[in-house]
């Protein structure tokens, strides 16, 4: 029983963590991850070519694709918090978070990486 409560609390905290990224930068999302910012899509592709990495945002530079992934991230984070479709929403959230982290690595702090690694234990 206790381990379920603990796991649920951890899931909810992770959900808020996913959500905080999107909501904190909502107003300036085009500066942080979009074409209006310092790292345009071309520069981002060049960055990946030089340093490697994975991101769903590589597939298109279309603003529609960016917005779709951004709002999908918000929806999946809400599902994680609510505990609905937990497995699939966790996978979506993590993949999207990873993609946005790769899109602009300058915004990360050390805790982000540790949290990202720990999250794999949820799936084990």
């Amino acid at each position: 029983m206790h381990h379920r409560v603990g796991a649920s609390l951890a899931r909810i905290m992770y959900g808020f963590w996913f959500l905080s990224y999107d909501l904190q930068s909502f107003e300036i999302r085009h500066f942080i991850w979009g074409e209006l910012g310092p790292v345009t899509h071309d520069m981002f592709l060049r960055d990946l070519k030089l340093l490697g990495g994975f991101s769903l945002l590589t597939y298109s530079s279309s603003p529609l694709w960016f917005e779709a992934l951004f709002f999908l991230g918000i929806i999946s984070a809400i599902l994680v918090i609510a505990g609905l479709f937990t497995h699939i929403s966790m996978i979506f959230s993590l993949t999207l978070l990873w993609s946005f982290h790769t899109r602009n690595e300058y915004i990360l702090d050390g805790g982000d990486n540790i949290a990202r690694i720990i999250i794999f234990f949820f799936f084990s």
């Binding site: 904190q24 930068s25 074409e35 071309d42 520069m43 960055d47 340093l51 702090d109 990486n113």
Partner: protein, 220 residues
């Protein structure tokens, strides 16, 4: 049977050597990444960064406390041309980081946090490039250096857009400056006799405004 045993033994020895080799390389790269900025990490950032990100990096200084010893402020200067005047005019140095930091202090969850991290990260990357470039007269910029320059140029151009009226002026060039202020030691932080040291400043070269498709044009 002895042949089977020998094969098993060889396999064990081989695997042990591979494991020890990998651990040695792993801890060497992690050590280099965590150490304060040094010649190897400054001159060869790509292999270390490629290995450490995305699985092993953390910059909280969680396990090796390394508190900041200086405060850095970033400034911009613009060269603007108006249709009415023949000569371009220079703006004053614009300190845009103090405003962002004040927003962060008044609300630690504001978008200013990610904005500031982006600006700081790009400035620091460019500073490391300047150090690499200063390492020798024959230093040849790598493709990564060229990329760092593009991103810095683009950042300055994007930031500059907030400080002039595009209907009245054209942006001719923009440059950045870093002002470094030493943080008083903790023991002196409340002392009235503490005299802060002179500010240090580094002024970077002028950049022509970057356009979003610049990288694609240059690569083609």
């Amino acid at each position: 049977m002895p042949a089977k045993k020998a094969r098993k033994r060889a396999l064990n020895v081989g695997l042990t050597i591979i494991l020890i080799g990998w651990l040695a390389v792993h801890y060497l790269l992690i050590g280099l990444y965590l150490l304060p900025s040094n010649a190897i990490t400054v001159l060869y950032p790509e292999p270390i960064q490629c290995y450490v990100t995305p699985f092993f990096n953390q910059n909280w200084r969680l396990f090796a406390p390394h508190p900041p010893l200086v405060n850095e402020r970033y400034l911009l200067q613009l060269s603007l041309q108006s249709d009415e005047e023949a000569d371009p005019q220079l703006t004053e140095w614009i300190d845009f980081t103090t405003t962002i930091r004040n927003s962060i202090w008044s609300n630690p969850l504001s978008p200013a946090v990610t904005r500031h991290r982006t600006i700081e990260g790009i400035f620091k990357n460019y500073e490391r490039f300047i150090v690499r470039q200063a390492s020798g007269e024959e230093y040849e910029p790598s493709p990564y250096d060229v990329h760092v320059n593009y991103v810095f140029n683009r950042l300055l151009t994007v930031l500059a857009e907030d400080f002039y009226n595009p209907q009245k002026y054209h942006l001719i060039a923009v440059r950045g400056r870093v002002v470094i202020e030493e943080i008083p030691p903790f023991s002196e932080s409340k002392s009235l006799d503490y005299v802060s040291k002179e500010l240090k400043a580094f002024t970077f070269d002028w950049f022509s405004p970057a356009i979003p498709s610049m990288v694609r044009i240059v690569e083609e």
